[in-house]
Amino acid sequence: MDTTFDLPDSTDWLSTTLPAFEPLEAALRCEVCKEFLSNPVITSCSHTFCSICIRRCIATDGRCPSCKSACSSDKLTPNIAVREVVMRFQEARPKALEMARAEKEAQSRSGKKRKLDETDIEDGEPVRQTRSRQTRSKGRHSQSTDPIEVADSEDGDDEFLPEGMAKCPICNTTMKEEQVFNHLDVCPEQNASQGRSTRSSRTKNTFPNPLQRRQKDPSPPPTRLSQLNYALLKEGPLRKKLQEIGIPNWGNKDLLKRRHIEWLNIYNSNCDADEGVRKTKRQLVKELEEWENTQGGKAETKENKMMKKDFDGSGYAKSHKTEFDDLISKARAKRATPKPEETKPSQPEVDATQPPKVNESRDPEPTPHNGSDPYPSQPTQIPIADNPRNPYENNESALATIRAKVAAANQTGSTLATLPSEPSLSENDQVSSHDIGIANPLGSPARKVPMFALPGQPVRDLDSSGSTH
């Protein structure tokens, strides 16, 4: 097994000087998806999982994956403290891991053990500190300062306003102080932000910072969707419901139900997300599409590889017309060239026809046999035989034609060892050999009896080729 891929994983710590971080990181990972907890929620049995993971689990069997006690998705509550810890740990992780690895390398190179106590504390600190106090982690991690700097610069902007100027508290447009009150009446953003403070409308787009968030008024959280009673709901109303939501509504009732459940999982877990990272509905629909492709109606199953009942044949033919035309012209070109061997592999299922074709291929003049003469004439004489196995049974004229062809072929190709026995067959024998040929379509080539049989298969083939000519 190759290990070319590299996914961060709690066991990364095992090969460093900080193996004690392995269980710590494992604790910050969701037990279901084994990734860092995203939008962690706590269940009524006090276990924490990713919102989407636990919702999917509950939708499947209604139990907590950890303790197997009954759970319900409307009892799930966002676990903000854990969210914060996970976020800060992820920020601190790369650098800490890098240091711990480098140290291990240095150790193995020098070959002597160093005391680990110091580094242990140093690397462990950020995780603990960020939990308790925001400001101290600021100095340690350059990455984590970004959100705070945004907040600071905001205050700075206010101070740097030229004298006599003021900002609209809603839309932040700079204007003269006396204009502000008039502007407020017509400010275009007033309705959107419902008259909230500058900070709330501005920080919306900045990096989410839960601690900072508490200072501003929270916007009303989106309401979670509730499950439907799928047993009572008929397919039609359910389909309509899905259309109302704006998600695909094709498929049978079971698929509709599964899709709606998955939509609830995706949508409700998005409600558990931090305000700043909440996704738009468009993104959610895209996620549902992903589900559709892997587990929903578009997932590759055995049934899907078969042709569907409502397969749009004519539509498919229209959309692929150029390809079909190309294939047809190629096939015609092959037919036109005097190479019967070419056609032989194209119909391997018709074994009875092969021996004569082999003979014909050695025929000095195969073109009249194959191309013009018999093919257009025969289908008109024998439109469709009642018995597909004995299509020539009551058609003496067709039989006579075939016999004539065979005789001609035998006369010209008499160099073959098996051929001399064949012209001796009388007409009565031919009927019997015909039967034998049907009974033994795969008869041994040495006997060469099926040569005269030329049963149903070639006729159908000729029929189709006749229509294309």
């Binding site: 590299d6 995203s38 994956p65 197997k68 587990q295």
Partner: protein, 163 residues
């Protein structure tokens, strides 16, 4: 931000599991990983438990992972025949509640393999798939059962062919 997209597909989780196994191998297993290039089809080679009749054994196991994984359990069976009350000798089907009713998404392939490994030492003859050896256990014929197991552990040992 933290892992903003959770895939519905199990592939990422399987890759994580594989990485976890490679940096922290399972003592019960000799090897574990995808068979050929299919991430949804794994194979494992299990070691026998030292100090039991299964000591020294090697069994190949076939693991099929459903698209709904980890919400639904992987299908695991013994390819190498094993003489065990809860394993069908011919099909290799394993009778373990973990693989059926009590499956939980928090289990991984590795932990499941550990559970199967533990099943070797804690068989339940009362829900048998291999009636012959289960009957020996139920009748209290420890010696008979042990020697039967020893026989098959020795004769049906899995040998890596490729290397």
């Amino acid at each position: 931000m933290a892992g903003s997209s959770r895939n519905a597909s199990p592939i990422k989780r399987l890759m994580t599991e594989l990485q976890t196994y490679q940096s922290d191998p399972n003592e019960a297993l000799l090897e574990l990983g995808p068979a050929e290039d299919d991430v949804m089809h794994w194979k494992a080679v299990m070691k026998g438990v030292v100090g039991t009749a299964y000591e020294g054994g090697r069994w190949l196991l076939d693991i099929h992972i459903p698209t709904a994984y980890p919400l639904s359990p992987p299908a695991i069976r013994f390819v190498t025949p094993i003489c065990h009350p809860n394993v069908d000798f011919k099909t290799g089907e394993i009778c373990l509640d973990l693989l059926k009713t009590t499956w939980s998404p928090i289990y991984t392939i590795t932990t499941t393999m550990t559970s199967i490994h533990q099943l070797l030492t804690s068989a339940e003859p009362d829900s048998p798939l291999n009636i012959d050896v289960a009957q020996l256990f139920r009748l209290g014929d420890e010696v008979g059962a042990q020697s039967l197991i020893r026989f098959y552990t020795e004769t049906e040992r899995y040998v890596e062919k490729r290397r």
